[in-house]
Amino acid sequence: MRRATLRSLLAHKLRLALSAVAIVLGVAFVAGTMIFTDTLDRTFTDLFESTASDVAVTPEGGAEGIDGPAGTLSVPGTLVGQVRAVDGVAAAEGYVQAQGVYLLTPAGEVLDTGGAPGIGISWTSAPGLDTGELTAGRAPERAGEVALDSGSAEEAGYAVGDRVTLLTPGPRVEATVVGVFTFGEDGGLAGASLTAFDVATAQQLTGVGDGFSGIQVAAAEDVSHDELADRVVAAVGDGYTVQTAQQQADEQSAALEEGLSFITVLLTAFAVIALFVGSFIILNTFSMLVAQRTRELALLRALGAGRGQVTRSVLLEAVVLGVVGATVGLAGGFGIATGLRALFGTFGLTLDGDLVLSADTVVWSYAVGVLVTVLAAWVPARRAARTPPVAAMRDDHVAVERSLRRRTAFGVALVAVAAGALAGSVAAGDSGHAPALVGVGGLALVLGAVALSPVLARPVVRVLGAPLPRLAGTAGRLARDNAQRNPRRTAATASALMVGLTLVTGFGVLGASANASVDALVDDTVRADYVVSTAVGQPFTPEVADRLRQLPEVDAVLQQRFTQVRVDGQSTFAAAVDATTLDRGLALEYVAGGSDGLAGRGLLVDETTAAERGWEVGDTVAAESAGGQPTELTVGGVYAANQAVGSMVLSLDTDAALGGPALDRYVYVVLADGTDAAAARAALETVVDAYPVVGLKDRDEFAGEQKAQVDQVLLLINALLVLSVLIAVLGIVNTLAMSVLERTREIGLLRAVGMDRRQLRRTVRLEAVLISVYGAVLGLGLGLVLGVGLTRALADQGITELVVPGGQLAGFLVLGALIGVVAAVWPARRAARLQVLDAIATA
């Protein structure tokens, strides 16, 4: 039996290769995702384990590490002494760390970090707490001295003794390089540049006063990190986060994985689609092979092979195919992981070292590949075993169409769940459950659609194909009829495109809505003529605003900062703005009170927050922040929710009193009346050009910059569309090849009674187009429902507009038709090449 199995495998190489492709793709996505996640994990775990202190104390809510917003939170300097006094602490030092410190090259340009942050740190040298390892020179000890990380020093061409210029959130700094150091084992920090100052200079530059970003603690030999952390918690009290090195590393990689989770989810989604379609392709292929071999199998049965032997022989073929597919897929996974690593490299996240291939990845790849293949081959294998020995003498075998009733019931139930969840998400409104409900609804909807697709196939294809007989005559009519003949097959074939387009359409609607919302926000809210900000919303020096204010072309300047304060016991982000120019730069819609409510220690809140907290104009609330004095704030106005400022607005004075760092995030510029636009821009640019990290944008450019982020995500999603198209093509090719094979005699008859090759090819092509357009139509419909649901659910996240990108959706429909055309090329040619006589004579 085994020899018969292997012979059979070799005899159908091409068809098996075709069906293996989908398995290869599915396994590649699974393996690629796992390899990439493991690599990410290892890189960051290594980095943090080698650099993190035994225990770290950071302000609560601010433990966002190197990627967190700079200078918003700090711990008071006095806390260091408290921590040092804890039993078991070998050493404790406060450290400062802030983004927005960039090294200028000798040519005067900002050193390119590939989008990674430029970070300024204080140099700590204490046993067990060294910031890094000096490879040259010494640590910075006073103002005017810096140490550079070795990567940046090398890239910019600096050595110990050179004079360098640094851009900081505060003023420009001239300094002498006194040392070069490495950070962590790989000598770098995922692409970021590091500049080390002495503690006092770092505190001054980053605006934390005499406070610190956090405190590093080295443990004594006789105490475990966990135990020490517990003791430190007891000593410092509430309001601080205390973490061991392990916890810091875990949190960092968890945060990173969460940030990248949408990529993992998308890749997994495509793995599932690929495997789903792949399993169907394999089912088709094995059905074909079994059907072709009915006589052969029956002969084996007649010669005494048991049912089990026949089943096993077919399943053995599947196992071999699954192993080969998984092996190639695993290799493909390396390719995908390499691609992802390169992609992240361009975003500034450099992952050094080799890709990590864990045993888990290998086991999962083979398990998935082999299991899916064997499960898909199970049905045809059973069918093969049921071949009666007498079939060896007969030439007719009839396929019985199973009832779709159970599927219909199951699908309708799922769609009902989906409808309930989606309706619930609309009803849920602001409660925060809406996105989760849309998620559940979306999943149920897609699964329901997959279940119902065979039921829908006949009526929908009939309608879609209605114009074909008129447009393409007999070829059109036959194509329409053929596409309806086996609705299960049509539905399964169309499913890859359906699921792919559901995702892409859903995100397309969401993205278009998000972009329209940005436009609406800028149109409705931004009154200023220009906005000055960094590309990624990092803080920058208020010098920019000061110098802009002095220009004669400028009528008003509005500075905006973000700060974290604890208001009425609840920690929250608030915007801090110039009380006097708020109305000039930004238009808020006031429900009660107004911008004059900011005067003194005033507070503006948005409607939702006011309702949640039960605040009204005139109420007084307690506010405190880690770095400053507790203050009483008076609610002076309530405004309609607005993304530009968030849920609360303070005045700059109040923010300063609360200890917020004096760093701007946005500066809005209003030009004086009658100023020449070109001249004004030139004047503004001369000021802004002196600060390479900030940019000057007019309203359109500002909106465009905000939209670019959305577009980048959409681009990634559309890249995955390409994959679903590829899988769809594979599925359609396979199905058509099978249909052509099954209809050999029909094709022979058509050719005998006068259908020429061109017409025959057209028949096959139109059938493919119908199937793929069917998938596209379902996908577009589902995607619309999901996109609209998602957009409505995210309304309180600032996606206020609902836009359906009609042109794009029409494009997808055309794409669907094109996929059919492309997929039909090979099966159509095969059909047309059939020799009439052979085809007629085929049993």
Binding site: G473, T474, R477, L478, D481, N482, R485, R745, E746, L749, L750, R751, A752, V753, G754, M755, D756, R757, Q759, V836, L837, I840
Partner: protein, 265 residues
């Protein structure tokens, strides 16, 4: 069988004396070397207008090959075949396809109809493929002649085997071809259904002036023809006019008795 009204001549006028189809030195060889088989061995044959010819012979005698080559379904190793004035070897695939579509009717032993099309759609299939509108009056008379008016909207699966073959016959005639080739049209039918198909073919010759060439191994079926050609080992070995089932059967027995090597004038 319903009498057929002769509404118009079934066959386009051709020069008097030119056969509807003819073959000269038809030779077909399969394989090479040791496996070389000569299926047709320099056969000369004429099929006259308005004549019902049956081709008979034992298995492997070349009767199906002869029909396939005459009908443009198979290519010749050497020799020439004509449908009317058209020489088949001069045609490419598209030309042959057009010829089959417009000038030849086919009835096969089985699987004559597309399962997705109704009986009427199957009947008009060649014309639909060509993009031509069928002659309604002619179509009517053909449909009446096969007696299937009430079943035109049915799909093949809803028709009996005999009905399916009659639909196939109607399709073969609907385009008024120069020649109808029928390959064992009654091979899968019981004798009653077979008889009705054969009577219809004969009626089409007698009353509509159709030319029919039928391959069969059944002496009873051959007795419906005007003329029977006997093939053995790729050659025409005998011809019988006005055949009856008994005479044909006797002649066939002679083949068997002589081990297929009987030579007759």
């Amino acid at each position: 069988m319903t009498p057929v009204q002769q509404t118009s001549p079934a066959v386009p006028a051709t020069a008097a004396g030119t056969p509807a189809a003819r073959g000269r030195a038809l030779t077909k060889v399969y394989g090479r070397g040791d496996t070389r088989v000569t299926a047709l061995d320099a056969v000369d044959v004429d099929f006259r207008h308005g004549e019902f010819t049956a081709i008979m012979g034992p298995s492997g005698s070349g009767k199906s090959t002869l029909m396939h080559c005459m009908a443009g379904l198979d290519s010749l190793t050497s020799g020439s075949a004509w449908i009317g004035d058209t020489e088949l070897s001069a045609l490419d695939d598209r030309g042959l396809t057009r010829l089959r579509r417009d000038r030849i009717g086919f009835v096969f032993q089985a699987f004559n109809l597309l399962p997705t099309l109704t009986a009427l759609e199957n009947i008009t299939l060649p014309m639909d493929i060509a993009g031509r509108t069928p002659d309604a009056a002619w179509l009517d008379s053909v449909v009446d002649a096969v007696g299937l008016r009430s079943r035109l909207g049915h799909r093949p699966a809803e028709l009996s085997g005999g009905q399916q073959q009659r639909v196939a016959c109607a399709r073969a005639l609907a385009g008024r071809p120069q020649v109808v080739f029928a390959d064992e049209p009654t091979g899968n039918l019981d004798s009653r259904s077979g008889a009705s198909v054969l009577s219809f073919l004969r009626t089409s010759v007698r009353e509509m002036g159709q030319t029919v060439v039928m391959v069969t191994h059944d002496p009873a079926a051959a007795s419906y023809a005007d003329r029977v050609l006997f093939l053995a080992d790729g050659r025409i070995v005998d011809e019988m006019a006005a055949p009856t089932a008994e005479r044909v059967l006797d002649r066939m027995k002679a083949f068997d008795a002589a081990g297929r090597i009987v030579e007759v004038g």
